[in-house]
């Protein structure tokens, strides 16, 4: 039997917990549950889960405050699962260190896919292969080599910096702020229009149909994610 990843489900709604736990069990995860912030923090300490699925509307504390606390434990992935759909809240959670964000009601398949991405990123960060393949595009971050249909694609340093951000955690949303501070670390004024222009030219170079982008995907008002169609099919 494989090493089953341990997932902590934090939610005050028993029905939701029950459904998520059932889905996780079927997908061969080891699921544990907590119904409030206090229990969640105790579980985190005692059980040391690898992933936390965190609801923001907890009875004893705002879930957003828990995000940085949980992230103090190295190697723990946080996926926020909340009915709050305000863009600001999503951006805040991501900027505080959450690895992903799902809005209730969600698709169980979507939840499992995000979970897989999060776990795989964790593996990558802890020494996995930095080589990515998305359709006909392959990205080698170590050698800084990008190819499309086997031909090398030349990127400007800024374009590469953007792509590096996205490819470091494929499938995960990188907020505008995160991308911009990586590309223009000294720039205090955030100019989203420059980011848009860079994304557009990246798409021109990498996408099969830049008008209908499949690789670099937009989350309105939040940021971008690198969508790897292959990743969704990876079974672990």
């Amino acid at each position: 039997m494989k090493n089953r990843p341990k997932v902590l489900v934090v939610d005050d709604e028993p029905q939701i917990r029950r459904l998520i736990l059932a889905a996780l069990g079927r997908a061969d995860y080891l699921a544990i549950e907590a119904q409030n912030a206090r229990e969640a923090m105790a579980m985190l300490r005692d059980q040391q889960p690898e992933v936390v699925l965190l609801d923001l509307g907890l009875p004893d504390r705002d879930g957003l405050e828990l995000v940085p606390l949980i992230k103090q434990n190295p190697g723990v992935t946080v996926i926020v699962v909340s009915a709050r759909d305000a863009t600001d809240e999503k951006v805040a959670a991501l900027d505080l260190g959450a690895d992903d964000y799902l809005t209730k009601p969600f698709d169980t398949d979507e939840l499992l896919a995000r979970l897989r991405v999060a776990l795989r990123n964790r593996v990558t960060r802890t020494g996995g292969s930095p080589l990515l393949t998305a359709g006909d595009v392959s990205i080698d971050l170590l050698d800084r080599l990008i190819t499309r249909n086997g031909d090398e694609v030349h990127l400007t340093p800024k374009e590469f910096a953007i792509l590096e951000q996205l490819a470091a955690m494929p499938g995960r949303v990188i907020t505008h702020k995160q991308m911009m501070s990586a590309v223009w670390p000294r720039q205090t004024e955030q100019r989203v229009e420059y980011l848009r222009v860079l994304i557009r030219s990246l798409r021109q170079k990498l996408e099969a149909d830049p008008q209908n982008p499949q690789l670099i995907c937009n989350e309105p008002g939040i940021g971008y994610r690198l969508r790897l169609p292959a990743a969704a099919n990876t079974n672990h």
Partner: protein, 890 residues
């Protein structure tokens, strides 16, 4: 201030009754039978019912039942019988009245002559004594009994009344005109409802002709109007002499029928704006107006309409000449600035007569006069006819012209002497005499008469060359010439006076018309009340305040000049006026300790409020002869207030109706759109317990998703309606927006290919990406719902010179003609389609709400070939970013 520490109206009333002289109110009628006595009695009854001690001094009911009914309940002072030539006559017992000391005495027939042996020969003298004793008196009077009008009335009715009342008595009275139309009066006469003393029947039969009654009625009304007008002018003049203009600037612009008068109007507007002053555009109607061409008439109307559009009040004033009309109007309106155009008359004409401008500068002292070069002065092209000012010698030109005419006749006479008889020559001189008397003045006529007789004597009568008269017959010729001059000039003077009178009453009409026009122009209740106060204050030269009733007593709403509070006595008087629908305060019969006079603003629905009037110098708020004008103004103000109130009620009722309609639409929509998927989910889940099946699971999933969309839409709509859309505008790429919207709607768009047709160089736009995302989702969702199965859905971006269009185009039934706008309304679903398609009418309303919040607009149209609907979001130029090349990125 609490209700308790305010003095009660009754207490103040008692205090008021103690002070000074009684007040006289005269019910003035045009003829017997108009209902003066009835009016007086019903007024008296109202006063009695409001607690005033009223007794009847003398009333002639003439056996009329409705009048007698009003007498009932009143205390009546028994008449004193006076024996006269064997008859016993009942006269008013003045001593009994003085003994009884009521607050108010009703004394009918003010013009009555007492029987010999009474204390006073005339009843009005009895009344004066009552007034002196501090008793208020109501009395009645017919217009033909007014002393100054006695002759005039006799001249057209051929009935001379001996019983007259001096005008001085009228001047100290409040006058209420009791008025019924002549036809109605004649009708009453035929029905025997008018009492006529037996001995006068025959004479009065002629008196009651329709033309007489019309003339009498006009006389009664006009006399009041004329008095108001004269006093207004007089007062203004007194002010002007003292240099004591009211603080505000007032601008008058003289408008002619010329095209370039538009420039004057605009100049007036600029001046008015600069001085923040009210302004009036006035046209002086002179004899020349009748000769206007249609074009000139139209141009004049256009000029006045322009002024009205620019915020002026407008007036058209008939006058004998441009200068006179303008002068009188400027004084009356108390103008501080006059704007007029430069005259295009010849220098010769102006040298002889003085230009309108020069004369204005000379005669209208403290007014700034602006003469603009482009226009022309609004004067007549012919010589203006001038009024004969009493005591003035008039224009020296008049005498010059008279002399010239006499000279011309002398020359003509010398030529004709060969042909006609000497005595007929004198007839020639009648021409200059009559002309001068009729056109200029009596003095000019006499001057022409004397000049004529001298010339006739010198040049024609033997011995010629001297001024002696040999034949006594010729003395008569000279006297005749002088006599003709006197008679003609008097006739002419009367004609001129009447013209003058007509001129002044139409000025008053113009003032009233301007008032009502201004009241219809304002939009809000506050503006209306301000306008009422300001206009009445200006027209009557008083301070005004408008109060509306409220639960805490009268509430001050507007005042001119501004006033923030009134004293206790004033508020008590205002309250009394509201409660009793009668005037109260100083100058009325109630609560006279108040500095202000309050008149109720009455409508058919009751009292809307009260208008308070006070004089700047704390004098009597309003003179009785100003009352007719005030009454007309109050009537118009009441109508305007009533109109505004009704309008507001209508709007409120409509808004409530609209809200109710929306609420019930929302409820029915919500219950339908929530229950339908819930029912499906419940049923499917129950069946699944027994027979698990993927089909049922999929049904549950689809319905749940539908429910989810609906809830999201409801939340979005609630946010739009609360006006609380958190906006986070940022540079957005339409490719991003379209791609993520297409991605999020991929399930509802199953079976449709999404075609993105956007030029690669489309600029970035400044919008809230989340709101735009919701717009696109709803548009795509809508397209997916209505498009024919298997057809593509196109998202098209187009750059226009001044905007960017983003359209969602489907191939389907399209939009019903005429529904293009309505589809964006909440809960509108395309007719006939709601039975076969799911979804609420919220989606497109959300698109519209979100788009408008971002400064975008949306429109719906039909696409042809292939047929379908096309929804377009228009992003204005201002929201587009200039192109940035990737090379520009720092």
């Amino acid at each position: 201030m609490s209700q308790t520490d305010r003095p009660s109206p009754e207490a103040l009333l008692r205090a008021a009754a103690q002070e000074g002289r009684g007040r006289l109110k005269i019910f003035l009628g045009a003829a017997p039978g108009v209902g003066k006595t009835w009016e007086m009695l019903s007024d008296g009854r109202q006063r009695r019912e409001s607690g005033v001690d009223v007794v009847i001094g003398v009333v002639e009911t003439h056996g009329r039942r409705e009048t007698e009914a009003l007498v009932e309940g009143h205390e009546i002072i028994t008449r004193r019988s006076v024996d006269h030539v064997g008859h016993s006559l009942g006269e008013m017992d003045i001593d009994a009245l003085l003994e009884r000391r009521p607050q108010l005495a009703l004394v009918d027939e003010l013009a009555h002559t007492n029987a010999p042996g009474s204390r006073h020969p005339k009843r009005y003298q009895d009344v004066l004594e009552l007034l002196d004793a501090g008793i208020d008196v109501y009395s009645t009077l017919n217009i033909q009994h007014v002393e100054s009008l006695n002759d005039v009335v006799a001249s057209f009715t051929r009935v001379r009344v001996r019983e007259t009342v001096p005008d001085s008595v009228l001047e100290q009275a409040e006058i209420e005109v009791v008025d019924i139309p002549p036809d109605e009066l004649i009708e009453r006469l035929k029905d025997g409802k008018v009492y006529i003393p037996h001995e006068a029947t025959r004479a009065l039969g002629h008196f009651f002709s329709k033309s007489n009654l019309t003339a009498l009625r006009e006389l009664a009304l006009r006399r009041a109007a004329q008095a108001v007008d004269a006093q207004m002018l007089e007062h203004v003049r007194a002010h002007a002499l003292a240099g004591n203009f009211a603080a505000g600037e007032r601008i008058v612009v003289a408008v002619s029928e010329h095209g370039h008068a538009g420039g004057l109007v605009r100049a007036g507007k600029r001046l008015a704006d600069a001085l923040k002053a009210p302004w009036t555009a006035v046209h002086i109607e002179t004899a020349r107006d009748r000769a206007y061409t249609d074009d000139e008439r139209r141009q004049l109307a256009d000029n006045l309409a322009l002024a009205s559009r620019l915020g002026a009040s407008t007036a058209s004033i008939p006058a004998t000449g441009a200068f006179e009309g303008l002068r009188d109007f400027a004084r009356e309106a108390r103008a501080t600035q006059i704007v007029l155009g430069k005259s295009e008359r010849s220098w010769w004409f102006e040298w002889r007569h003085g230009s309108v401008v020069d004369r204005l500068v000379r005669e209208v002292g403290e007014v700034a006069i602006h003469v603009l070069p482009a226009g022309e002065s609004p004067g007549p092209s012919h010589r203006p006819q001038r009024l004969a000012l009493p005591g003035a010698w008039g224009d020296p030109d008049d005498y010059l012209w008279s002399l010239l005419m006499v000279a011309a006749m002398t020359v003509l006479g010398r030529l004709l002497l060969q042909v006609i008889d000497l005595s007929n020559i004198s007839l020639l001189y009648l021409v200059p005499v009559m002309f001068a008397a009729a056109t200029f003045s009596l003095r000019a006529g006499l001057f022409a008469g004397i000049a004529s007789s001298l010339a006739y004597n010198f040049f024609f009568l033997p011995p010629t060359g001297t001024l002696t008269v040999s034949n006594p017959e010729n003395v008569i010729s000279i006297l005749v010439l002088l006599g003709v001059a006197i008679v003609t000039s008097q006739f002419a003077a009367r004609v001129r006076a009447q013209a003058n009178l007509a001129g002044s009453s139409s000025r008053q009409n113009a003032a009233l018309a301007g008032f009502s026009r201004q009241l219809t122009a304002v939009a809000t209740g506050d503006e209306l009340m301000q306008a009422i106060c300001a206009d009445i204050a200006r027209l009557l030269d008083v301070r005004t305040a408008l109060l509306l009733p409220s639960t805490n007593g009268p509430d001050l709403q507007a005042a001119f000049p501004p006033e923030d509070r009134l004293g206790q006595i004033e508020l008590a008087a205002a309250q009394w006026a509201i409660d009793n629908e009668q005037p109260a305060g100083r100058g009325s019969t109630t609560l006279t300790a108040s500095d202000w006079l309050f008149h109720p603003l009455r409508t058919s629905r009751g009292v809307l409020g009260v208008l308070g009037i006070a004089r700047q110098d704390a004098g009597e708020p309003i003179r009785s002869d100003q009352m007719p004008l005030l009454m007309s103004l109050l009537d118009q103000a009441s109508i305007a207030l009533d109109r505004m109130a009704l309008q507001k009620e209508n709007l409120e009722a409509r808004a409530i109706g609209e809200r109710d309609r929306l609420r019930s639409a929302l409820l029915s929509s919500v219950s339908h759109d929530l229950r339908t998927p819930l029912t499906t989910i419940l049923t499917a889940a129950q069946q699944m317990k027994a027979h698990p099946s993927p089909d049922l699971a999929e049904t549950i999933e689809t319905e749940a998703q539908r429910l989810n969309r609906f809830v999201a839409n409801l939340l979005d709509m609630a946010r739009i309606e609360a006006g609380a859309l958190p906006m986070k505008v940022e540079p957005t790429d339409l490719f991003d927006a379209v791609a993520s919207a297409a991605h999020d709607t991929r399930i509802s768009l199953q079976g449709h290919k999404v075609v993105v047709d956007i030029p690669a160089d489309i600029p970035l736009v400044r919008v809230d990406p989340v709101l735009l995302h919701h717009c696109l989702i709803n548009l795509l969702d809508n397209a997916g719902r209505y498009a024919n199965a298997g057809t593509p859905i196109t998202i098209r971006g187009r750059r226009l010179p001044d905007a960017l269009l983003l359209s969602v185009i489907d191939e389907g039934p399209g939009i019903l003609p005429g529904e293009e706008r309505r589809v964006f309304e909440t809960f509108t679903r395309l007719q006939g389609s709601d039975r076969v398609r799911h979804g609420t009418g919220l989606g497109l309303a959300i698109v519209k709400g979100f788009a408008e919040a971002m400064g975008l607009s949306v429109e719906a149209a039909n696409n042809h070939d292939p047929h379908g609907a096309c929804f377009t979001i228009r992003l204005p130029e201002a929201l587009l970013l200039t192109q940035i090349d990737s090379g520009d990125v720092p």
